[in-house]
Amino acid sequence: MDILFTGLLLGGTYALIAMGLNLQYGMARIMNLANGEFLVAGGFAAFWFFTAAGVSPLLTVFVVAPLAFAANWLIYVVFLRPLVRRAKSHGQLEVDAILTTFGLAFVLVGLKLAFFGGDYFSYSYLARPVTFIGETYALNRVVAFVAAVIICGGLWLWLNTTRAGISIRAIAVAPDSARLVGINVTRLSALAFALGGAVTAVGGALVSTFLTLDASTGVLFTLKALIIVIMGGVGDVRGTIVAALMLGILETFVATVFDPGLTLAAAYLLFVLILLFRPQGLFGRRQA
């Protein structure tokens, strides 16, 4: 029971992070391997504002989101759009995007190391116990979970009810046909990419309240988010949430029962099973 709820709490924040990547990979069609770096940047901003000025991470989010949005929009327009234009095939774009975003990830890590050093950063925010059905949980995890649920819910509503949201989902399903029905694919892809970056950075600010981050942990989060997105089905919001919760519970289970050092191994096990048996994702349909 304890494992289940702790896992759900962790999974909720994973869902938010993976949602950011899903917007970038599923909707904007760019495999962004620098995604985790924005998570660390968001976490770092929260840490800095909290230790320097005592600002709550929940408020920092409102600074982090627009900054990450702008940064990711710039990355899309400056680095990725030329690649989309020059790519002769989808495979070529994929290889180019992977190399470019790897490069960007390393540049970001390098800059962070140069300016802030390689130390772990953590701070104590809302580290109080709360009791729920006879078990105690850390308040910061609960708060992060609630915030993640609110943001995921808002995103889901936006994607399903607004014109821009529905258009972005149309691009995710059929990028070529979307253009034919008058959707501005170029502009909306940039929007989805920027939004994805912002969502992940907000996730980072929330995660930093209860996890210790350092300049080089970004890639681990990218990896987890990728596993979640593929498991849930690329471009599938509902699948992403279910997959994130599953991963959260599995990781908590492995960390509690076996060894906290084996969480990635657990995520990998899940990944291999998905690749072998349902490569199209939990709810995806097999492509013809």
């Binding site: 680095f79 490069g103 390393f106 800059l111 191994a265 690749l275």
Partner: protein
């Protein structure tokens, strides 16, 4: 064999003989540099054997390398060193086959993600088993010196080049070039695409694993963080792409300058190597999409065209 082939073969043999003389030129630093270059030449060339024609970016080099290192580390007390090298090759090929079976039937992205985490996964498992058994690191004590390691790596490089040349002429190499051009076409013309890709990935994995096994005596003390360092995978990708994967001799053209650059940067700015990796990736994508080889080919074409008009 045609005239050009005989000439190329003679040139290659001459270069290898020249490279083998390096230890006699004296200078411990020169030899250390030689070992590093020979190691990356083997790793980058065998990487390009698979990733060049198929465009699948493998980040599993560190996993294979670490596997080989641990083969020597664990086996040296029980078996003869020369027996360990083929064992490392077999283990590398088996690991590559397993990874390939899980991912190579699917699109390239799955493969990249899977290989990206593979070294970290094995590292976690090794660390965990060491925690359980209470053993921390491994000592590899042999009477092999730097010179021996250098010559072994040169020998391995010769095998990799010869193997790559033979594969390029075989049905397998032909099949892979078609897969790289258009996998759909390859499938329709009756090529078992998954099998071809897995076979070549096994060759590449075996070579990287043997490299790790050869280098283990150099480290003397092996621990997971050293054997499975993720940086290695990225360095190999950059060197191979920088040189160009279109030709067998392409990667080494990238290995030599990048090794010097890397040594210079890590000597004067040890914290900026990550930044260097990042910038190199961007340079490759935006300025040198076909590597130095592509640049040379383009220059030669331009010269030929000018002569044609004159």
């Amino acid at each position: 064999m045609t005239g050009t082939e005989t000439r190329n073969l003679a040139l290659a043999v001459a270069l290898f003989v020249a490279a083998a003389w390096l230890p006699f030129l004296g200078g411990a630093y020169l030899l250390t540099l030689g070992v590093t270059i020979a190691m990356y030449t083997v790793l980058a060339t065998s990487w390009a054997l698979f990733s060049g024609p198929t465009h699948y970016i493998s980040l599993a080099t560190a996993a294979f390398f670490g596997l080989g290192t641990y083969t020597t580390g664990l086996g040296i007390e029980h078996l003869d060193y020369w027996l360990l090298l083929p064992i490392a090759a077999i283990l590398g090929a088996v690991l590559a086959a397993l990874v390939g079976l899980a991912t190579l039937r699917l699109s390239g992205v799955y493969f990249v993600i899977f290989t990206l985490g593979l070294a970290e996964l094995i590292r976690q498992l090794v660390t965990w088993s060491q925690n359980v058994s209470g053993q921390k690191g491994l000592y590899v004590l042999t009477d092999l010196t730097e010179v021996h390691i250098y010559w072994q790596l040169l020998g391995l490089a010769a095998i990799v080049y010869l193997g790559g040349w033979l594969i390029g002429r075989s049905r397998l190499g032909f099949a892979l070039r078609i897969i790289g051009d258009d996998e759909e076409v390859a499938r329709h013309s009756g090529i078992n695409t998954a099998r071809a890709k897995i076979l070549l990935f096994m060759v590449s994995g075996a070579a990287a694993s043997v490299t790790g096994a050869i280098l283990a005596p150099r480290y003397i003390y092996i621990e997971p963080a050293l054997a499975f360092t993720p940086m290695l995978s990225f360095q190999v990708v950059i060197m191979a792409l920088l040189g160009g994967t279109g030709r067998l001799w392409g990667p080494v053209v990238g290995v030599i300058p990048f090794t010097f650059l890397w040594e210079a940067i890590s000597a004067s700015f040890p914290n900026q190597t990550t930044l260097l990796l990042g910038v190199s990736f961007l340079v490759i994508v935006y300025l040198l999409p076909k590597g130095f080889v592509g640049l040379l080919v383009a220059i030669r074409q331009r010269l030929d065209a000018r002569e044609g008009f004159a």
